[in-house]
Symmetry: C2
Subunit: 158 residues, 2 copies
Amino acid sequence: EKLLVTAVTLKKDEARVTVSDIPDRPGIAADLFAALGDVSINVDMIVQSTGKDNLNTISFTVLKNDVLKAEKVVKELLTSWGAGGASVDKNIAIISAVGVGMKSHVGIAARMFKVLAENGINIEMISTSEIKISCVIRDDKSEEALKLIYSIFGLENA
Amino acid sequence: EKLLVTAVTLKKDEARVTVSDIPDRPGIAADLFAALGDVSINVDMIVQSTGKDNLNTISFTVLKNDVLKAEKVVKELLTSWGAGGASVDKNIAIISAVGVGMKSHVGIAARMFKVLAENGINIEMISTSEIKISCVIRDDKSEEALKLIYSIFGLENA
Ligand SMILES: C[C@@H](O)[C@H](N)C(=O)O
Ligand SMILES: C[C@@H](O)[C@H](N)C(=O)O
């Protein structure tokens, strides 16, 4: 069955912000992204897994240039919520496989994750849609990851 | 600034599987999705936030009909890794806002999260790409959520 990956993209200008141990109740995500939007911080990936003990964690990426601004926004919110912590990591890159009709994208995900694993590249965050699988990895692994993923999907390194 | 949401989609046939406290080292995600692919389980959302203390959690969705098969795969992996736990939740729905050129999707995310919050609908998982923002919510809130999100983006309820 043909794996239909049509492009691989690499973003090296993004940084990760994680807001942890925040209340897992309606309004928290809304407050956070409204506050970021209010100061014109744009966000690329947003990832939130299921909460536990009424707490949750939201990780998102912003341009490296917006990290200080984002941290300020997050700190003010944590104070107003009276809960949670924040961490930031600028040394990341986002590598994505883009495909059309990736109905069988579990196969594409498995192959992408496998080639990274075989080369010792840890997958720090994952976010998917039907047409895209995105992974956050260390930025110093980004060029290697790009070449590896191009090669397993038979694409020419642009 | 025009918010370009062109469609709202609701999936009611998906269930959540969470694999928690697994080693945050290369190969884990690859093993998991290769094993699911090997028994032809297709996966819709995959969400993984940043790990802590060398452990991480991966949540993903599969068709409700595939939950038992997915649980079996996951249990075998947890045994082989000697680590981690799993949980499953069939009472979810996935609501998504789809847009073209959502470069300013922080504004779209904020509005979508806000209308859910105002109506007491908790956001359990979040995954985004440039063209789509997907949220996992309780399935008994799904029809209400669909109507609300249609209305804030000025779309007709199909
Ligand atoms: C954690 C956050 O997503 C919360 N569950 C909310 O709905 O806003
Ligand atoms: C947790 C899992 O994603 C792991 N970090 C891996 O690279 O496989």
